[in-house]
């Protein structure tokens, strides 16, 4: 039960690598903050600075409004769940969970009670006498969770805890983690590069890129209003289509690859001559019957049939090929073939415009 606050935290490694270049995040009590971003963007480094496993080059980490920069991991009263579980291989499940409590000198009966309670919550009651190697991946992950829970820490820290599990189990554990975090109401920081995990788990989502937080907000607000082209491309799958275009005043946007002029509805158009990136999520295209209502015609080059949906890959008709491919997610029932030319409308108000040079949202 605590708040966690990062104030312009920076990390420069001994070798001179600037892994984190100044990140500020405010996590209210009981909320789950998810750090998401591409590999090497500094997520783990940031988390480890909160844990106390890495020194802080500049800035402050506050837990419950106390600066903890100089405290060791145990003194910060946090619990961490690691990617490879990091269970003690020679200890039984029970001892794995009890070890941290014993080190704090907690009396035996209380340790026993806490371990058994946590084990019951996590469905580990039968496994307490086993060694970690006698457990499945999912069970090990639960033990790692149990080790965190029994401590009743001020914060849970997770570093890609599910990346070693298969897809099905990952989905299951994701829900469990969320449920446990909710039940215990523990402030959490969760690192992942899986955007489904990020979207589903986060109360606060932090999209990181190259050592900086590109955008902080609720998952939906980030999905709906990505602040930069990086965030736009990173959150959502398949990623948002970004088309280079030149503003033509009230007429609309001239696609730079020679395609048509596009005029998204309910969208404030920038002044003429400005170079922009027009962003449209694949799911925000609608197939229209009548070519007159179309914003864009897509010459289909490839079709992926997923059942519920069909992904149509292609280019705007008239394109000289210099722009990227466009993907539209259409209902599975719309039978589409390669070579078709699809009249597509952009859903009103769901086009995004970014400055071509800076990548910032306009």
């Amino acid at each position: 039960m605590a708040t966690v606050e990062l104030k312009d935290v920076k990390k420069t490694y001994a070798g001179g690598v600037e892994a984190v270049k100044g990140v500020s995040i405010d996590i209210p009590d009981g909320q789950m903050c998810v750090l998401v971003g591409p590999s090497g963007c500094g997520k783990s480094t940031l988390l480890r600075m909160v844990a106390g496993l890495e020194t802080i080059t500049a800035g402050d980490v506050l837990i419950d409004n106390n600066v903890v920069n100089r405290l060791g991991p145990a003194e910060r009263d946090i619990a961490m769940v690691f990617q490879n579980y990091a269970l003690y291989p020679h200890m039984k499940v029970y001892d794995n969970m009890a070890y941290g409590l014993r080190n704090r000198g907690m009396p035996r009966p209380e340790i026993d009670q806490r371990v058994r309670e946590a084990a019951a919550t996590l469905g580990l009651a039968e496994l307490l006498e086993r060694k970690p190697r006698e457990l499945s991946g999912g069970q090990r992950q639960r033990v790692a969770m149990g080790r965190a829970i029994v401590r009743s820490p001020k914060a849970f820290l997770f570093d890609e805890p599910l990346s070693n599990l298969d897809a099905k189990l990952r989905g299951q554990m994701r829900i469990e983690i969320k449920a446990i975090q909710r039940r215990f109401g523990v402030t959490s920081i969760y690192v992942t590069h899986d955007q489904v995990e990020a979207m589903t788990l986060a109360d606060i989502l932090v999209v990181m890129n190259a050592g900086l937080a590109e955008q902080i907000g609720t998952p939906l607000s980030i999905y709906e209003r990505p602040a930069t082209t990086f965030v736009a491309g990173f959150i959502g799958s398949p990623s948002m289509n970004l088309m280079k275009a030149v503003a033509q005043g009230a007429k609309g946007l001239q696609l730079a690859d020679g395609g048509s002029v596009v005029k998204p509805r309910d969208t404030e158009l920038p002044q003429g001559g400005r170079e922009v990136l027009l962003g449209v999520r694949p799911e925000h295209f609608t197939l229209v019957k009548d070519g007159k209502n179309a914003d864009l015609e897509l010459s289909v080059t490839a079709v992926e049939t997923l059942g519920a949906d069909t992904l149509a890959h292609g280019r705007p008709s008239g394109s000289n090929g210099s722009g990227g491919e466009i993907i539209a997610r259409l209902p599975g029932a719309s039978r589409i073939d390669e070579g078709d030319v699809l009249p597509l409308a952009i859903d009103p108000g769901l086009a995004h415009l970014f400055d071509a040079a800076s990548g910032q949202r306009i």
Partner: protein, 282 residues
Amino acid sequence: MVENRPFLTFLSHLVLILGLLVVFLPVYIALIASTRGPTEFLSGIVPLLPGDHTIANYRAMLQSGLSTSGAPPLFPMMMNSLIMALAIAIGKIVISIISAYAIVYFRFPFRALAFWAIFVTLMLPVEVRIIPTFEVVANLSMLNSYAGLTIPLIASATATFLFRQFFLTVPEELIEAARVDGAGPIKFFWDILLPLSRTNIAALFVILFIYGWNQYLWPLLITTDTRYYTVVMGIKRMAAYADAEPLWNLVMAAVMLAAIPPVIVIIFMQRLFIKGLVETEK
């Protein structure tokens, strides 16, 4: 997989059996010799069947020894060997595991230098530095003492190096988990690193015990007092008995007895060590 062909099976068994014979024949002959009377070797024909002096030979060795050769009875010598082997094995393991811990997990000035200094001593076993070592031991008046027998042999680069390699394979996450769990350096060493090293310790113990037990040159040099004789050098003295045919039956009884402790150590430790090998997982 090797194919299951009868000829191959036959051949591989033949090789194994021949190998076994080569290894076991001398041991068998020693065993037979230790059951025979004193005069039965003078003819030059090596007997292949047990004789009837078994009890007499072994009793003689254990109780009175070969007094003519100036060696004490076997039992005290075996005790000396045991003390020496245990002290060397345990001493080496303790020192090397601690030094490896320091080198791997702590950042201190000249850490690399410390590691290389230890490593370089690998090239200088006792036999190479025997004269200066003797000088030092003599000046410290440790001749004819257990300290003199063991201490110069305890400093060990090999074991330090092996433990270092093992520690480097312990995942970083485990160390961090222990830190988050509030385990300081000593607790981490004691609660986590040491139990994880159990199989390595068992393996090293076997090797080092035998190394210590088989020491010959060093005890020969620094002991003049029969109270500190070890069994391996004692046997050599019995066999090299001047001006007379060695009493092979008694010597061989001594050999057989001297071989028992290392065999026990191997058998006992092997169980632990194979169990460890099968169970190992990090």
